[in-house]
Symmetry: D3
Subunit: 225 residues, 6 copies
């Protein structure tokens, strides 16, 4: 019912959509797509300041076993983001500098993993961005199969191969492949609107007036004393 497989060919999202989503970042994209697809907030960047987007290569693997990450490297394309989800909660350090070297050689932009990561200093020095659940030196074995490019639940969010991952200091959000262009357009619109609002707020105008909230406060019965 659950045979280990590697899906080689994954339909990719439009390049221009990925580029746009990377520009907008996690919070704007999350809002623009109607507040869905956010990964649990325990997944945090190992260093701050990165913002990347790319199509997901998904990996489902057992706790404490990173064999399938090695398998996945071969099917990664330039610009991809690796998304790794153990089948049981695990904080072991599945990933370090050597795997990052290998992924970078194949053009992979970064890693999102619902487990542990190690080699924090060399990863920081080589600026390979990782979003992980834990920092943990505890290594893994290479014994048991899992699958590549099947749908996985990563940090509470469903991710399918080819979906666009967006990751920055706010966390990680997934955008369905087929929705990527629409979400990019909605994010563009939201950003334009926010730019206008930002200027008004910076000049001292109140959100209460800009968003027309005073009437509502009155109806709801707020008292000033």
């Amino acid at each position: 019912m659950n045979e280990p497989v590697v899906v080689r060919n994954v339909e990719q999202p439009p390049t221009e959509a990925v580029a746009a989503l990377e520009k907008f970042g996690v919070t704007t994209v999350h809002e623009a797509q109607g507040r869905c697809g956010l990964l649990a907030s325990y997944v945090r960047p190992i260093f701050s300041g990165s913002c990347i987007a790319g199509p997901a290569v998904t990996v489902s693997l057992p706790p404490g076993d990173n064999l399938m990450i090695h398998v996945a490297v071969e099917v990664c394309r330039p610009g991809n983001i690796l998304v790794v989800a153990p089948t049981s909660p695990c904080t072991d350090g599945y990933f370090g500098e050597l795997l990052a070297t290998s992924l970078r050689a194949h053009g992979v932009k970064g890693l999102v993993i619902d487990a542990g990561c190690r080699d924090i200093r060399p990863l920081t020095e080589m600026k390979f961005p990782v979003w992980s659940r834990a920092i943990h030196s505890q290594g893994t074995v290479k014994s048991t199969l899992g699958s590549v490019n099947i749908p996985v639940v990563c940090a509470g969010a469903l991710v399918e191969a080819g979906d666009v991952m967006v990751a920055d200091d706010d966390g990680v959000v997934v955008v369905r492949r087929t929705a990527a262009l629409d979400v990019a357009a909605a994010a563009e619109q939201r950003t334009r609107k926010e730019n206008a609002t930002r200027e008004r707020l910076a000049s001292g105008e109140l959100g209460l007036d800009i968003y027309g909230l005073r009437k509502k406060l009155n109806e709801l019965g707020l008292k000033y004393i």
Copy 2:
């Protein structure tokens, strides 16, 4: 029993007390006032290196609804610190860059929130300091009333409007408005004493001798082997 209200006029603490407390930082202030008023340690700065103090504007609001933060902006004065406490545990991202822009336009120094924050990168770039319980892109709505400038329990500590909040890399502490001058004086005294001790310790003298602990160790029966 719990009508939503906004208290407009809040008695402010002495300006010189606030300035002094900001200079001493959280740990010294916490010690100086007899080890009370510390917020739970899960409230952490979104970036390191800030140290601020200012009178609290308090906000009590429902989970997942930031309407009252917009209401609170209007009653903030330059130098204030906004203190936000949901009535039920919540890690949603109540606060981001636009609200920070608005607060800054009104002279607010920073935010302490027992919930989530988002837009970490722009907030870091604009150097608007936030102490929060979580980093979370998940947004909120603007539907339900709460109150401004009533007493709140924020991260386990009671905060009343006009109390002085002190926040730095060690966390956040609240000083009662009426005690601010006394606490500042006690902190001054403690710092002077610590400066003297620091010099002696740096020269290699032992705390055992400086604090006169050897006799106590002996009475308690410590054995050296």
Copy 3:
């Protein structure tokens, strides 16, 4: 059954082993000694970028009482690392800038503590590295005895006085004193091997081929589709 004692003379590990372990860092050392001795991953550095190794001076003390840290300073030697373990879970701020000043005056390299730390900013400025379970301003008293240089369980790992602590951005690992030379040799060997692998991975070769995993995948029945 549990009398408080201070053990003055602790056998030290070979100096060259300590120097080598410091060079290799936590993850390499942890692998080289067969994946044992890792402290729980909740012990994190208060600032990033440090990598130290040194013989442990161990402190077992009560919750909320740092008297024994003051006692321990006197038996520390240059190059030591202080390892502090409360006898009951505690996140109080046992340690701050003054104690760091004292430890530095006696040549101690850093602190590993299964409890809280405070004075984060001054500790960062003086570059005194600390790995702690929490950041917490809450201070401690100096009332009750504990022991120095007895075996302790710190963050889930057994540490004996004179064992070598290695600590960096990946966490903390303990190496038995008598095994230090062997572990350093094994780490040297592992590093050499990894350097060779790194070059091949960087050139685009796959781990599947370098580690000879393809046959195993086939035997285990992995399907490509």
Copy 4:
């Protein structure tokens, strides 16, 4: 600023209000008073099936030190509930069977403690109800002062001496002393209303119709497919 005191005389809430609140239980009381006063949900009963209400005797004490619980026994009156809050997070076992024996001898109904409890089996056998944050054998000392019957923050809620504590399998809620009669009346009203609703729901009527929600769903744009 924080002198240890014991307040002997505490104004008590009306007896009939306490009796009524005990009958209604935590959730009804919490709703009836406008959803405030709930303690954090990590405070759980050590055995299930109890429901008690009574005026609070509050205890503020240091981590790992239960001296002030012994002090508090003397000022308890029959029907009181002891509310214990450490000044720093602590899971030590402050309380066990002997203290329960003493409290019962003075008519105290139960204990709410934002820390640990031990002797679970004898406490269960003698049916002395405790709501605690942890179960932990780790004992405490009797060395340091705290205060009795001052305002405390217990599990995130402000409790003043004489406030009514209500505790059952749902958790713990505090009712201000002066509001107790009004809250009891509101709870009575809510219960009557719920009884009517229960009957309609049990007969198969839908909440959508009973609460008149269909129009709202329509306005909000819910689609059935």
Copy 5:
């Protein structure tokens, strides 16, 4: 991109498969389907001793708002299990005795909720089984739409309407609707095999011999000393 919808007609799994799965319980079913579909272990029963199985009615709803549970009741069929997943982490008490009365009137067997539950005592008395993430009196509002019978991620597992939920003291597992018959057959087979093994183990035979592990231990190099 995320319009709120209610899907009325959901294909149901074979009745005999549901009955079989209920008989086998969570752990056997989880094993029989190849160790997938398990919900996170933080979802626990509010009382022990229940074991139920039934087709899922799924509810996706906002934090702190239970409007959609009321909507869902109308589309439930006898034998269903309600599966509720907030779009953001939330421990509020979405569910209590009145909703249970309503669900029971429509034949619903129980509830699985990745959030809080309240009214524990009446729910226990009426034996309505709930698996929840928290017990929390904090109530919710009825303001915002969500969806019914769309795919949801509940406690880390993907659940689609019509999938079979199995829940007992071990936790909760989801079985794809189309796999239900096969999984029931595999569970039957596993149980038969375990019954045989149990007898041999009860008579003192060792698992080492029954599972033929001694050769493996030898090959792996285990030493007896």
Copy 6:
């Protein structure tokens, strides 16, 4: 440095000491031996009401792999308690009803495991007591070696083979084999003293008087107001 071994012959503690310790329970034993040896409080019984004591058979094993529990059964003696500690944090369900059947057939009294357990209902019905860190259906494999009867750190406490484990509703404590008789005697003495105190407290006498604390309160400066 870490070769997998099974130590067959383990020196056992005096039978009468084990029997006595079982009678006194965890909290009394923990106090009697000077407050050491307590396991972390996250290890909880899967059902309440058990109190057992017995010599430890220790198992050190990898995350997600229970091969070594099968190995350990063979070296267990009647009256032993199995103590299982993974080398990396893990909540998988290593243990269920079949293993319990096997252990019982060899006279083992119960299990303490710093990981997950499953089959809660059958284990409860057969009254086989387990203290575990989690309840989790997720199974394990039987692939990798570990060791039996070497010293392990279980839930933060050092346990050596032949040490006496005591476990009840308060948690789990370990008593060194060589100290068992002394600790049993100290527990006997403590119990006698507590029995006398209990009677006085039950009659309404205050702890303040029984323990002679009034003078101390006075010296420390407690004020009654």
